[in-house]
C-alpha cells in the first residue's frame, strides 16, 4: 500500500460521498398506482406522479405516499336496531378511490379509519329508519342511501366512494324461525288455494260434461221418439192399408178367404206348440172337437177348392153373382171365429211374432206385399167359394 497525501484529497472524498447521497435521496421513482406528496420545509407543494421524479435536495422531501387505486374496506358486523325494534347484525364492504392525493393526505388523519366509521354510522342510521321487512327486501336502496351520504361526506377528502354493499343482514334466531314459519304458511296457503281452485275447475268441468251428456241423451231420446212415432204412424198406415186391402178382398171375394187365414194361423199355432222344445207332451184343450171341427172346415174348403166343380148346395155364380153384403161377411167371420174358438192362444198377426206365413216368405218382403200376395193367391179360391159362404 502506498500512502496517499490526504491533505487535499480528503475534501474530494467528502464531496464524492455528498454527491452520492444527494443523488440517492433526490431521485424518486414513483410506481404506477401511487402518488407521493412533496413538502418543502414541511409545507405541501406538489404531488409526484408515477415515474422518475427529482426532488430539490435538502429543501423538499416526500410527505405521504398514497395509493390511488380503488381500495376495499371491510365493514365489520355491527348490531343495528330497526324502526320496529328488531336487533339485526349487519356487515358490508366499501369500495373507495383516492382521487386527490393532497387532500387525502392533509384534509384527514387516518383516511381508512375515517371512511370506515363514517360508513358504519350511516349504515346504522339508514337501517334504523326502516322496518325489518323493508330492510331485508331493500338492500339496493340501503346501499344507495348510504353511498350518497358517505360519498358527500368524503368529498372534501378528495376521495370517491364507488360502492357500499351490505353483505349480510342477520335477524336474531327467533325472528328467523318465525320468518321461516311465516314463509312456510304462506306457501301452504297458496298451495291450498291452488288445490281448491283446481278442484273447483274440475268439478265445473265434470258437471259441464254431465250436463252435455244428459242433453245429448235427451236429444237422442227425443229423436228416437220422433222416429218411433213415425214408425208407428207408418205401421198404422200399413195396417190400415192392409185392413183395407183385406176388407176389399173380402168384399170383392169370398168369406172363405178369411176362414183360410184363420185356419192357417190356427194350425200354425198348434204346430208351434207341438214343436216347442220345452214341451214334449201336447195337451189339447177340451174344445178339441171344435179344433178338429175347424180342421174339418179346412178339409171342406180344400175339397171344394180342388174338386173342380161347384158345391152341391148351391151353384157357384159364374163371373159376377150377387156379391155378399158387408153385414153378411161380418156375420160369417163371427161364425168362423165362434166355431174355432178355443183356449189355445190366438196368434195375432204381429210384426214381432214370427208366424207360419212369415217363415214361408222370402226375407225382405214387406207385410203389405205379403198380404197382397196371399190375397191374390186366394182370390181364385174366394171367387169360387163365395156361393157356399152365403149358405152358411
Amino acid at each position: 500500500m502506498i500512502p496517499f497525501d490526504l491533505g487535499v484529497n480528503l475534501y474530494l472524498i467528502a464531496a464524492a460521498v455528498l454527491v452520492f447521497v444527494v443523488i440517492v435521496a433526490a431521485v424518486k421513482t414513483v410506481p404506477q398506482g401511487m402518488h407521493y406528496t412533496v413538502e418543502r420545509f414541511g409545507r405541501y407543494t406538489r404531488t409526484l406522479k408515477p415515474g422518475l421524479n427529482i426532488l430539490t435536495p435538502f429543501v423538499e422531501r416526500v410527505g405521504d405516499k398514497l395509493n390511488m387505486r380503488e381500495q376495499l374496506l371491510d365493514v365489520p358486523s355491527q348490531e343495528v336496531i330497526t324502526r320496529d325494534n328488531a336487533t339485526v347484525t349487519a356487515n358490508g364492504v366499501t369500495f373507495f378511490q383516492v382521487l386527490d392525493a393532497a387532500r387525502a393526505a392533509y384534509e384527514v388523519t387516518d383516511l381508512d379509519n375515517a371512511i370506515l366509521n363514517l360508513t358504519m354510522t350511516n349504515i346504522r342510521s339508514v337501517m334504523g329508519s326502516m322496518d325489518l321487512d323493508e330492510l331485508l327486501s331493500n338492500r339496493d336502496e340501503i346501499n344507495q342511501r348510504v353511498l350518497r351520504v358517505v360519498d358527500a361526506a368524503v368529498d372534501p377528502w378528495g376521495v370517491k366512494i364507488t360502492r357500499i354493499e351490505i353483505k349480510d343482514i342477520n335477524p336474531p334466531p327467533e325472528t328467523t324461525a318465525a320468518m321461516t314459519r311465516q314463509m312456510k304458511a304462506e306457501r301452504e296457503k297458496r298451495a291450498m288455494v291452488l288445490e281448491a281452485e283446481g278442484d273447483r275447475a274440475a268439478a265445473v268441468a265434470r258437471a259441464e260434461g254431465e250436463k252435455q251428456s244428459l242433453i245429448l241423451a235427451a236429444e237422442g231420446r227425443r229423436e228416437a221418439a220422433y222416429r218411433d212415432a213415425e214408425g208407428r204412424e207408418r205401421t198404422a198406415e200399413a195396417e190400415a192399408r192392409a185392413t183395407e186391402v183385406v176388407s176389399t178382398a173380402i168384399e170383392e171375394g169370398s168369406i172363405q178367404a178369411i176362414n183360410y187365414f184363420v185356419a192357417e194361423k190356427y194350425v200354425g199355432a198348434l204346430r208351434d206348440i207341438a214343436a216347442a222344445p220345452n214341451q214334449r207332451t201336447l195337451i189339447l184343450p177340451i174344445e178339441t172337437a171344435a179344433t178338429l171341427g175347424s180342421l174339418a172346415g179346412i178339409a171342406e174348403i180344400a175339397r171344394d177348392a180342388f174338386s173342380g166343380g161347384p158345391g152341391p148346395a148351391s151353384p157357384a155364380p159364374e163371373g159376377g153373382g150377387p156379391r155378399p153384403s158387408p153385414r153378411e161377411i161380418e156375420r160369417a167371420v163371427e161364425a168362423v171365429i165362434a166355431r174355432t174358438a178355443s183356449p189355445v192362444p190366438t196368434i195375432t198377426p204381429d210384426n214381432d211374432t214370427p208366424d207360419s206365413a212369415t217363415a214361408e216368405v222370402p226375407p225382405g218382403e214387406s207385410r203389405i206385399e205379403r198380404i197382397r200376395r196371399l190375397t191374390t193367391r186366394n182370390d181364385a179360391l174366394g171367387a169360387r167359394l163365395s156361393g157356399e159362404t152365403e149358405d152358411r
Binding site: M1, A26, I54, D155, T162
Partner: protein
Amino acid sequence: MIVFLAILRDLGPYVWFIVGALFLIAEVMLPGVNLIWFGVAASATGLVDLAVPLGWELQMVCFLAISAISVVAARMITMRSISTGTEEVNRGPSSMIGRELALADPIVNGTGRALFADSTWRVAGADQPAGTRVRVVGIDASTLVVEPVER
C-alpha cells in the same frame, strides 16, 4: 476507501467496469434504491480512463459528474414520454372528461348526482332536472363539472 483508491490506482480503468457492474447488479437486486446512475457513470468513467488516462482525482470527479448528468437526462426523457400521453391506466376521473352521463338526481343549488359505472358521482353545474344528459367538462377532485348536452 483508501483500499479502493489503492486498487483503483493499481488496476487502472478496469476497476470502473467492475464497480459499474456491481452497481447495476445491486440496482436489479435491491428494491426501492436507484443505483443505475452510478452503474452507468462508473462504466462511462472506465471508458474515459481507457481513452485518456486521468489521475484518480479527476476520475472521481468524472464519475460524480456523469452520475448527475445521467439522472437529469433520464428525467428529461421520461418527462417527454409523459407529455406525449403514455399514461393509460389509473388516470382517475380525468378519463371521464368529454363523456355524456345521465343525471340520477337533479342538480339543485349547483350539485347533483350522475350515473357512471354502476355508481353515482357528484356533479356540479347549472340546475337541471333528473334524467338530463350532461357532458363532463372538468374535474374537481371527486366532483365532475358538467354542462347540459346541446340537442
